[in-house]
Symmetry: C2
Subunit: 500 residues, 2 copies
């Protein structure tokens, strides 16, 4: 067994090394690559991905996994080896069930779909994207078919991003939450509104950058194991546990994107930096799921970065950095401003009280598309109806509506819900943390973030992919993913801000 495990680790390490190599190429593509390098980079990435797929699907690996799973049947099911085998088997099954021709077809369709989506959005012409979206829906249905039987056609899609999650579970969670969020939004709309105009002044880009760096250094971001660069669409990536990089963008006329974007990506990065080094280069490396990942980024962005104690520490520094813009804005005005609730058309600009509604809408139409209950051509109309129903706003154009996100053009259906699940999980964890570190807000107020990172490190980060998301949340908080704490958090926070 030991020799077989070593062999498996060797194969796993090679797959991992090649995947990290591809990730370096992907990072460079978005951060550095000169424009004309795109075609060559496409070839390089394709070559790597072919090899990775080949290695992921060798029959030798399949046999090794079968043998090892049989041979480890009597071991502790929570041991690293058994868990690593489980995740490896899952990866193997997913890789072998999807024929290479299908993957090639998806790559081809999405390459064209991306161009079509891009110009459809620019020209506000959904018809241009419609045939490609049609194909993408069909490809996703076909993809689900590879994993039949399933409880719901959407399950295999969701499972790609949230191992073990079922459509029925997510629907139940969202169905309970949606009416309450809609109701809260209505109450806020009826209350006196808060001002945030001071966020839209001119803020020097270098100073914005440096301020973000100061905050995430306090958060505990390890510059010996990471770096920050500019990218048009911020993201976090890593090439092992000791090279975890973040990116951000800076808007010289709006304070939020760089500031909260940096804190958000830092949350992702702290997670990857905290995964057990013992898992590096094996199947347990990296975050457990997109939702768990998002729980970390949203926690550092919102629960910490949009909290009053945080700004009690950092606001004097921010004022000193931008005396002209903020010298006459007091702490509470600033705090309210960065927490302004305002239903808007665009998901990525949404505040904490509206964000999940954007997600629920997307998941609902995705499920309907996958079930065949909604025709692609009817999508804009349904989109706009739901926007009005949930958020009280109707897009002026499809560009600001159904065409706003790139995910579908990239072939990804089943991804969106992870954003909202991440929000819910972040608050479940937060409540647990507050019971175990009762003076956490005092630490934050003093600019001390070690206790928070230590807690997350030992309860979440270190486990990597060892536990599935629901299992991890259950182990740590005592309950599965639940919307109640999040709803209570919204009511408390915005009730106080809006005096309701």
């Amino acid at each position: 067994m030991k020799a077989k495990l070593e062999k498996l680790n060797e194969i796993g390490a090679e797959i991992s090394d090649l995947s990290y190599a591809a990730a370096v190429l992907g990072w460079d593509q978005q951060v550095n690559m000169p424009p004309m390098g795109a075609e060559g980079r496409g070839n390089q990435l394709a070559a790597l991905e072919r090899l990775i797929h080949l290695k992921l699907t060798t029959p030798e690996l399949g046999e090794l996994l079968e043998d090892l799973i049989a041979e480890t049947r009597d071991l502790d099911p929570d041991s690293d080896d058994v868990r690593m085998l489980k995740v490896s088997k899952r990866n193997y099954d997913q890789a072998v069930k999807v024929p290479p021709e299908f993957t090639a077809k998806v790559a081809k369709v999405t390459a064209m779909a991306f161009g079509a989506w891009h110009s459809a959005r620019q020209e506000n012409n959904f018809a241009k994207f419609q045939p490609y979206l049609q194909q993408i829906v069909e490809l996703n249905q076909q993809f689900a078919g590879f994993f039949a039987p399933y409880d719901h056609v959407y399950d295999p899609l969701l499972d790609r991003f949230e191992p073990g999650m079922k459509t029925a579970d997510v629907k139940a969670i969202f169905d309970a939450l949606r009416p309450q969020q809609v109701e809260l939004l209505q109450t806020i709309a009826d209350a006196p509104q808060v001002d945030n105009s001071f966020l839209f002044l001119h803020y020097d880009e270098h100073k914005q950058w440096d301020f973000g760096v100061d905050v995430i250094t306090h958060y505990g971001y390890d510059w010996m194991r990471g770096r920050q660069d500019k990218a048009p669409h911020p993201f976090t990536t890593n090439f092992g546990v000791n090279d975890v990089r973040i990116t951000t963008r800076v808007d010289p006329d709006f304070l939020n994107p760089a500031l909260f974007g940096t804190l958000h990506e830092c949350g992702h990065a702290l997670y990857e930096l905290g995964v057990s080094p013992a898992y590096d280069r094996n199947a347990l490396a990296g975050g457990a799921s997109l939702a768990i990942h998002e729980s970390q980024s949203r926690m550092y962005e919102n629960l910490v970065g949009r909290s009053l104690p945080f700004w009690e520490f950092f606001y004097p520094r921010l004022q000193a950095t931008f005396p002209q813009q903020l010298g006459n804005v007091d702490l509470h005005t600033f705090y309210k401003g960065i927490n302004q609730v305002k239903p808007s058309l665009i998901r990525v600009e949404a505040d904490e009280a509206t964000y999940n509604l954007h997600i629920m809408l997307r998941m609902e139409v995705e499920i309907a598309l996958m079930e065949g209950k909604l025709a692609v051509k009817d999508l804009p109309e349904v989109w706009n109806q739901k926007m009005q129903e949930y958020l009280g706003v109707t897009p002026h154009s499809d560009a600001d509506g159904v065409l706003q996100d790139v995910h579908w053009a990239g072939g990804m259906i089943g991804y969106f819900s992870t954003y909202a699940l991440g929000n819910l999980i972040s608050v479940q964890l937060w409540q647990k943390i507050l019971t175990e570190i009762p003076d956490l807000y005092d630490h934050i107020r003093a600019g001390k973030f070690e206790s928070l990172l230590d807690w997350l490190g030992s309860n979440i980060h270190i486990h990597g992919k060892k536990f599935e998301p629901q299992e991890l949340v259950q182990r740590v908080t005592g309950s599965k993913i639940d919307s109640a704490p999040y709803m209570q958090y919204l009511k408390d926070k915005f009730g106080q801000i809006y005096g309701i």
Copy 2:
């Protein structure tokens, strides 16, 4: 035959894509990687190199090449296909003759040798490096053995960097040149010296950077297909013909490193940018050899960048950029200053009149080591004797002598001569260019560099690896590599500057 050629191109493209991927990782390692990322990066590069070696040595490739070479026997020997086959065969033979265990051993020894060299240099303690250098010499002797029979044990080493070049040829070239360079140096030493103290003032780093960018933009560096970054040891790398990147370093208290380093690397980059796109991803991609490459970098650095016509155009701009430092330094004083001849201990700081002597010394001791006529332990003494003999200076310490270069610690013996050969070739080409573009200096004086780049593009760059270095020089200039033009160039240039 067509199907076989297609198959060969497919294999070649994959090898090329993976090699470019490795180059991206190498670039990132030197330019961006956070310190702690080193171990993971080593694993990623090792995984890629293993795969590349595997693909380079598959018996299928060997058979395909045999078949194709037989089947193309009647084709034009100068056709792209025949040449591509020849270079592919060469690469294949080189890859299969070296056992993977040997390559692994070299990697292991050089990894340790690098550390030993680094501390040996810091502590000025040759004894610390000696056993590793001993091993490296033996490994290089073993390497040569894989290519027996050979005319000279040094031939297989040289051939790695200069396809087709023989030790006897290089020795003959250098033996003719050395006494003349030594003599010129003596004459210069006896003449009144020139001042360059103004180069060692404080020069703002950003302004230095921008000035370099301005010059290489004039040179024709294509920013859509390249970029410049900082690196401690400047280099040029490329990931295909459309992504060719340079790096530079900036010394705030010395004008030369950033300025001439940037021009030098740009010369390398223009070469790679000019290789026929038809060769991209096959065996003919990239520069013909290190010496041909160096001829391009040295041409743009020295023949252009240290010429009077160049500074007639650029000096007013440089003065305007640094009025405090250069406002009172006239053009001719500046021109003389950047061309100051001064025998020094360190190769990388050497001027045009002394540089080759540093190289010849290295090649002579390398050959003696390889022949077994010089013991590693006696190397420092021989080094110092030759330094005195050729340059009239004796190192105070081995750190400034035999320990100064990293090449041997990296396992590379046979590399150095390419630097001097590049100098010689640059002047041979330059003379040819002047006959074909008689008003070239007028173009340069007007800041116009298109005619030069066009000429190099169509005579050198476009051919990639199609011709071996000697063959290429012969085709373009009508003679093989020859030191006479370079010697004449030195005499003319420094005769004028030093009034001799």
